[in-house]
Symmetry: C2
Subunit: 289 residues, 2 copies
């Protein structure tokens, strides 16, 4: 009997099974194409296991409101074929087992909270800075959701005084994602983000935006740990810059753990989300399907 987990990303799906909810026994990675084709491969993977329950962390936006008629759907994504796709429904009609359903970043936050950098903390926020910016939080041991799931990547930020890039969020232009996700860096500076490693101005600006976000999350949620992942955070020099800028902006207004331990890369590396999905699957077992 196996716990199943799906990390459903916009670029690839990772599927995994585990007997104890922690150690991954088998996994596969599937490119995200159409829902039909992608799910065909997902089913091919899971069909050979007897499943106890499943945990799914999906790219979004998704409907997490259990009272809603579109609960379990991926909603208004521009991704061809996936808009208002009943993802959870497809999984449940194939495998009649209890499921957990949340965002990929919530799953990452939960994985890090239970088995990674958040293990010793009471609450944590996971932020991915990649093609987009997304965040998830664990508060009081539970994934944070309200009327829907958070969209922490779209908060308003103050423009850096030397920044005249207009921003590229189609909804808000110069929100956090519009100013600081990978594509914004590349459009602003005209080069692939990975090739700009030596340019201090680029990363100073980037740190300014990310630190602002962490200050807002701190004042609203008071997490003990921030885990920063995603392609842009491969630039390790960002971490000390973000910590310094965070302290400058917060100006000791509230007590926090030491920034060196508070603001870190994912301890689980690329396995944060799939680990979170497995743990959520394990918990779904004891709940109603």
């Amino acid at each position: 009997m196996y716990y199943g987990a799906i990390e459903a990303g916009g670029t690839k799906f990772v599927c995994a099974v585990s007997r104890n909810g922690v150690d991954i026994e088998e996994r596969t990675s599937i490119p995200t194409t159409t829902p039909e084709e992608t799910l065909k491969h997902v089913f091919a993977f899971f069909d050979s296991y007897t499943l106890i329950s499943m945990g799914i962390g999906s790219f979004g936006p998704i409907d997490v409101n259990k009272d809603s008629g579109t609960y379990g759907f991926i909603t208004s994504t521009p991704k061809p074929g996936w808009g208002f796709f009943d993802f959870l429904g497809e999984i449940k009609s194939r495998y009649n087992v209890p499921t957990a359903w949340t965002t990929d970043v919530n799953a990452s936050a939960y994985g890090e909270f239970r088995k990674g950098g958040g293990q010793k903390s009471g609450s944590c926020v996971y932020l991915t800075v990649g093609t987009g910016i997304g965040g998830g939080a664990v508060v009081d041991g539970k994934v944070l959701e309200g009327f829907g799931h958070p969209e922490m990547g779209h908060i308003l930020v103050r423009r850096h005084p030397e920044d005249d890039y207009e921003g590229n969020c189609p909804y808000h232009a110069d929100c956090l994602e519009g100013m600081a996700a990978g594509p914004a860096i590349e459009k602003r500076h005209g080069y692939k983000a990975g090739t700009l490693a030596g340019d201090e101005k680029v990363w100073g600006m980037e740190a300014y935006y990310i630190a602002q976000a962490l200050v807002q999350y701190t004042l609203i949620l008071r997490p003990e740990v921030f885990i920063l992942g995603g392609g842009v955070m491969k630039q390790n020099q960002l971490f000390p810059l973000i910590r310094t800028e965070y302290q400058r902006l917060l100006n000791n207004y509230v007590e926090t753990p030491a920034p060196e331990t508070m603001i870190t890369a994912p301890a689980l590396g690329d396995d944060a989300a799939i680990t979170g999905c497995l743990l959520l699957a394990e918990e779904a077992e004891v709940q109603l399907p």
Copy 2:
């Protein structure tokens, strides 16, 4: 046998008792002077009742971390005599009953959530805009706290393009409180806020700042209801201005309840906090002292 409640404000303390945790049987209001004098009156009120438990919602910052050596203290307040005062300790050594200890705004949020404007919701945020700006949240039926309590009033905001007021937060200058609390309005415009009712520019600017805050809270917490209280919100014309600005800034990025029902004044009026304290007292009864 009575539940006791203390709403401890910087200007006045409200004390109340209730037999059922809802209906207030007796209450008193005490000016906040020194801790010794204020508590003398508090004790005089409660000494005539046999208490089951007590709920306290205090002005802050306060220490809410149960593992801390200063748990139950009012911490770094500039208020003479109250800095690092062991408030909860004094109460517990006088009345050896279970206690609940949180901020005044968390108590207000909880009161509104259970008995006021948040009753039909899954989560709510209470924001007071007065001498300062403070916020509390109820998520999943529980008061939100992490490494400490939120300080939602000090989030960063974007400056209004026509605003050249430098801001008066001693920590951040132009944070939300520094730009939009009552004293900021009065210093910026040179008049008592209550006398500026007819000045459209004043309230347009104010709504811009408050709406920004609500957008940030929405994207991070996804509350179903916002309750806006405090002296500044007596300007009722602010509500529609805030709703319009909120929708403009959020730009439909996430689904929300209709702004008319989502963004409202406290249904319990000035009783939000004391009601929350009583309800928290009732819950403290079943927990360890």
